[in-house]
């Protein structure tokens, strides 16, 4: 099951937030939540780099709690994708990379009306993303 998706740029700006099956709100504004999330990712990355016994290449990949899993993919330009799913989901990294190349590059980067570093407001992107997420096998209720 896919809960929600955050897209950050290399400076920590929240470019896009998408939500599907989220069952609990954090009780703070989206703006605050994005800052908290980015701060946590930033710390996680440095934590992982320090505690790693051998030289990491990609570094942090995901963490799991008893209820959900947070998957993290960063592309070379510093764009960060964060996807929350249930704990049994697999192959999220490939999914996010697909999302990057098929949806983000096509409908955001190739959109001349989008200014780099600003939140994405394009309706086309939103619908395409929604389609892409809903088509994936990961979406839908948890298989127990």
């Amino acid at each position: 099951m896919i809960y929600n998706l955050y897209i950050f740029d290399k400076y920590g700006t929240l470019l896009y937030y998408g939500e599907w099956n989220r069952l609990k709100q954090s009780g703070i504004t989206k703006d605050e939540e994005a800052k908290l999330m980015y701060g946590m990712l930033f710390s996680l990355k440095s934590f992982v780099n320090k505690i790693s016994p051998i030289d990491p290449k990609e570094g942090f990949l995901y963490y799991k709690t008893n209820k959900y899993a947070l998957h993290f993919v960063e592309v070379s330009s510093g764009l960060k994708f964060v996807l929350n799913t249930d704990t049994t989901a697999t192959g999220i990294k490939e999914f996010l990379l697909q999302l990057y190349s098929k949806i983000w590059v096509e409908y955001v980067v190739r959109n001349p009306l989008w200014t780099i570093g600003t939140p994405v407001t394009s309706e086309l992107f939103k619908t395409k993303l929604d389609e892409f997420v809903k088509q994936s096998a990961l979406f839908g209720p948890k298989v127990i």
Binding site: M40, I51, I54, F60, K64
Partner: protein, 217 residues
């Protein structure tokens, strides 16, 4: 089967125990000619590689020795300055040895207290109600397993990614903690664990797991 380390964090977030186990030593020595093809950053406490990784010398590695003489930060053991040696042409060819920086005890304490808020934020940002904190954290080089007891003490094991059944191991470590630390009359809660019996038993447990697998405990 490789376990890299065990950490125990008290309920207030302080590191009370850590054990390095089987941490691989990553070192590379090479002879360089002038000019140096890697970029170094000189800081008083360390000289590290910032650009140009090659032949096992990676970005982030720190300088260990110059021509076999150990470097303490930016100064060699014989008192000479590293930067001066590396930047003057007449000293070449130079043999430099680099290694992945070892974590100092201070850094470990720092990391342990850093994990504490991460653990808490993970449960706050949860999209589902009543989530626990981080239980498993995976990177490409290791997997960290965390088990929090009802009293708030956290047990963490850093192991290879393929390692299974770490939750069983964590519970076994908890058992050892209950037996040899909490029943020790000389141990005061929240303080660093210095109990010989705990050390030896934990060591034995880790060796057993590495040799015979998780099923052997």
């Amino acid at each position: 089967m490789v376990i890299y380390g065990v950490y125990i964090v008290s309920k207030s977030g302080g590191l009370i125990f850590n054990l390095d186990h089987n941490v691989p030593k990553i070192e590379a020595e090479r002879t360089f000619s002038y000019p140096l093809e890697i970029n170094l950053e000189y800081e008083p406490k360390k000289v590290s590689v910032v650009f140009g990784q090659k032949d096992g010398i990676n970005v982030g590695h720190v300088l260990v020795s110059v021509n076999g003489i150990v470097a303490n930060g930016s100064v060699l053991e014989d008192g000479r300055d590293v930067k001066e040696i590396i930047e003057s042409k007449e000293n070449y060819p130079l043999t430099l040895k680099f290694s992945r920086p070892k974590m100092t005890t201070n850094e470990k304490i720092f990391l342990a207290s850093m994990f504490y808020p991460l653990f808490a934020i993970a449960s706050q940002l949860s999209p589902e109600p009543k989530s626990s904190g981080i239980e498993v954290l995976e990177a490409d080089t290791f997997r960290l397993h965390c088990f929090q007891t009802l009293t708030g003490v956290k047990f963490m094991v850093v192991a290879e990614c393929v390692q299974m059944g770490m939750d069983v191991l964590l519970k076994r470590i908890y058992e050892l903690y209950a037996d040899f630390v909490l029943k020790n009359p000389f141990y005061s809660l929240e303080m660093p664990i210095r109990c010989e019996l705990f050390d030896t038993n934990l060591q034995a447990l880790l060796e057993q797991v590495e040799k015979g697998g998780i099923a052997s405990i």
